[in-house]
């Protein structure tokens, strides 16, 4: 017999076979709940994160970083030094086709691409000095998610899960609600890398069936339970014979979680019982179908966070022509991408706020890089890793603020430069985790999400 404390310590380290003892946590399978919440390093501001991943790279000068200088020099050859870009088909200065207006008491300028998000200006902390580690999609995506430009490292959601577990033992701690657009670099952006596999992002779809195999195939629930117990016993025997068996532990735990998810997932992802007003707020009935689909994703994100899921990430819908990657036809592509996400994101902020959840939920809106202030060809913009905008809102963030700055063209950061390490450090900080202490030993090193970097930025914290 093990004591409660031993159990918690061991389960925190992931001894999956303990699950088979069935002595603790009277759940369906008597599971040990490997994702049981862990004590934060310090009092958390946010309990959950919703990461609004703007795949492809939103143009900062067309959204959250107005640059009147571009209008003055529109069509002229850039006076500044232009670094080689991905396509290196760099044209003249291209002014923003969208107008900026000042919103809220804070007077934050936001372009006409985001009229709904603009109505939440006083909740946003806009960071205009974000930078990326790579001008290429896959590498920038890996870095945005894992702090490293190569694939295979754990995603930030997996780190949050590893650091804190989750409040809902019937749901994964890291859920990706997939709009359908697979990021460049692949779904491994959401992987657990060298962390135990039970921390990896679970992919839910935005429409039914959200997840395959969530209904029983056996004639009775009891029969399924017996099968799983037998499977667990065999896995446990195998695990006992092997000295290093983290993969088997995770497999056992994932089987058990999947079993519990059968009960919870159909309910948590069912948005049909939401009130008509709520559906309207999110745009479930919007004329544009991609607004409808992103609305469903945002609504589902709220329902997951309500149940204590630690980290929810939303990918975008592929039906907008292209991701936010307008190498040409900027107006059409950005307009469609913005129309899909704008109302649902604003609704998410307003709905969370009304339900008392915004101050414990951190929202992060970011692409993997920004776009050039000069044209690619005549009407597109190429990738720009040297300065772009992202924003955060909610749990512990000082709303109505702007942090950092780019030069007068919106090309390079000139003030308070941030890297993905800084973004990750602040996200973990708000969750109550000291990013320098959250480590996992792999290949002989204690590895962090933030490597040996990452600064906490007091100016963006409430």
């Amino acid at each position: 017999m093990i004591t409660r404390r031993e159990f918690l310590q061991k389960s925190a380290m992931g001894f999956g076979t303990l699950a088979l003892s069935g002595t603790m946590q009277q759940d369906l399978l008597g599971s040990t709940m490997p994702l049981y919440p862990k004590t934060p390093h310090f009092a958390p501001k946010a309990r959950s994160v919703i990461f609004l991943y703007m795949d492809g790279g939103v143009s900062q000068v067309d959204s959250f970083d107005p640059k009147p200088q571009l209008a003055k020099e529109n069509g002229k050859k850039p006076k500044f030094k232009v670094d080689p870009t991905v396509f290196n088909n760099n044209g003249n200065i291209l002014k923003s086709p969208w107008e900026f207006k000042h919103y809220g008491e804070s007077g934050i300028p936001i372009s006409d691409l985001f009229p709904h998000v603009a109505s939440c200006a006083d909740d946003l902390c806009i960071i205009r000095s974000m930078t990326a580690f790579s001008p290429n999609h896959p590498n920038a995506n890996y870095a945005l998610h894992s702090g490293h430009i190569l694939s295979g490292r754990p995603s930030m959601g997996a780190w949050a899960s590893y650091g804190l577990g989750t409040l809902s033992q019937n749901l994964p701690s890291y859920v990706v609600i997939h709009g359908g657009q697979v990021p460049s670099g692949g779904m491994q952006c959401f992987g657990s890398g060298f962390l135990p596999a039970n921390h990896q992002g679970s992919i839910f779809l935005s429409q039914h069936p959200v997840l395959n195999n969530t209904s029983f195939q056996e004639s009775s629930a009891n029969l399924q339970k017996k099968k799983l117990e037998y499977l667990g016993e065999m896995d446990g025997t195998l695990e006992a014979r092997l000295s290093h068996s983290e993969a088997i532990e995770s497999a056992i735990q994932n089987y058990e979680l999947a079993y519990r998810m059968q009960m919870e997932v159909p309910d948590v992802t069912n948005i049909s019982n939401e009130s008509e007003v709520t559906k309207k707020l999110y745009g479930i009935d919007a004329p544009y179908e991609n607004t409808r689909s992103y609305a469903a994703q945002c609504l589902m994100a709220r329902r997951l966070v309500e149940r204590g899921v630690r980290f929810v990430e939303l990918t975008i819908n592929p039906g907008n022509g292209d991701r936010w990657d307008q190498h040409s036809r900027l107006v059409d592509g950005h307009q469609k991408n913005a129309m899909a996400v704008d109302q649902p994101i604003a609704a998410l902020i307003k709905d969370l706020k009304s339900r008392g959840l915004l101050d414990s939920t951190l929202l992060v809106f970011s692409g993997e890089f920004g776009r050039t202030p000069f044209a690619q060809g005549t009407n597109g913009r190429d990738h720009n890793p040297q300065g772009f905008s992202m924003w955060m809102a909610g749990g512990g963030i000082k709303g109505g603020t702007i942090y950092g700055a780019t030069d007068e063209y919106g090309y390079r950061v000139v003030e308070d430069k941030l890297t993905v390490h800084d973004m990750h450090a602040n996200m973990l900080h708000l969750l109550g985790i000291d990013h320098t202490r959250l480590t996992y030993r792999f290949s002989g090193r204690d590895i962090r999400l933030t490597d040996v970097h990452g600064e906490i930025i007091p100016e963006i914290l409430a």
Binding site: A43, L167, S168, A346, G356
Partner: protein, 306 residues
């Protein structure tokens, strides 16, 4: 410390006869209430003037913008807090500022003697204890039983002696024995999350044990005005979530908490007029109703015209 302050302090030390002959003082029982009364309004969760807070022992012992710790344990005469308290009201650095309620001589003397005795707090340092040691053999088994039933209970942070109790899985099927166990951990709880409590939980009979909690999430609970009287006894509430409960205008009228902080009243029976009134009456409380869907529709319409 200027000579005038020393003079005034000496006066107090010599002539104050009203103070009970108490020789040892503790932060929680003797000091925190005084600071709460006169200081926390401007140096607490709402405002942090000069970057300084006095709403917890740890905060009091942490410097603000001046980078000077306000307490020099053992030495009241060199503790900036005492100096600020003793400055004449018209002095620029006098605290509380001129015109605000100021602590009495006895109250200042209590602080001075507490500092002289080492500025101790019995509860500080408790945060380092494990949950088991912190709660002791009476309350800890209750936590274990509640966890078995699906409650998530943990310390707020590693070095905290406050608990967070999350009943999301237990609340809808809570029973009498779980309620008994909740009562025994109640005093340790800082944040209580119990959405979807049924009316059979009879929350007003036991919520009073959560006397030290500051955050209450009672959203979607199957109750209404009948819990207001018991909530009113919990003066420390800073966050009260009654979203989706049956609260009515008259319940809201009687509700006295939170005195400052956040109050959530969406999807209740409270009408807009009552909401507007309470917003006007309670400037220190941010009151949240339902999201304004008409604003959203208006934005969409305007955008589609452009």
């Amino acid at each position: 410390m200027n000579m005038k302050s020393i003079f005034i302090l000496t006066l107090y030390l010599s002539f104050s006869f009203t103070l009970p002959a108490q020789t040892t003082f503790d932060y929680d029982t003797d000091i925190a209430p005084v600071l709460e009364k006169y200081c926390v309004k401007c140096h607490g969760p709402e405002k942090q003037k000069s970057g300084y807070r006095l709403d917890s022992y740890e905060a009091l012992m942490t410097p603000g913008e001046s980078e000077e710790v306000a307490i020099d344990a053992g030495f009241p005469m060199t503790s900036p807090l005492i100096e600020y308290l003793l400055l004449p009201p018209e002095d620029e650095y006098a605290m509380p500022p001129e015109g605000e309620d100021a602590p009495s001589g006895d109250e200042i003397l209590t602080i001075a003697r507490w500092i002289h005795g080492g500025a101790k707090s019995k509860s500080a340092g408790q945060g380092k204890l494990s949950l088991e040691k912190l709660l002791g053999e009476n309350a800890f088994p209750a936590v274990e039983r509640l966890r078995t039933k699906g409650a998530v209970i943990d310390k707020l942070a590693e070095n905290s002696s406050n608990l967070v109790v999350d009943l999301q899985r237990l609340a809808p099927k809570i029973d009498a024995s779980a309620i008994e166990d909740l009562k025994s951990v109640g005093p340790y709880v800082h944040e209580f999350r119990a959405a979807l409590l049924p009316s059979s939980a009879k929350i007003s009979e036991w919520i009073g044990t959560f006397e030290n909690a500051t955050r209450f999430d009672l959203s979607h609970g199957k109750f209404g005005d009948e819990i207001v009287a018991s909530l009113n006894r919990l003066g420390g509430i800073m966050y009260l979530n009654l979203f989706g409960t049956q609260l009515t205008d008259s319940g809201l009228e009687d509700l006295q908490v939170p005195k400052s902080g956040q109050l959530f009243l969406g999807n209740t029976k409270v009408r807009n007029a009552a909401l507007a009134k309470v917003r006007a009456d309670k400037p220190n409380v941010t009151i949240y109703g339902n999201p304004d869907v008409n604003q959203t529709l208006g934005i969409t319409e305007k955008a589609s015209r452009n």
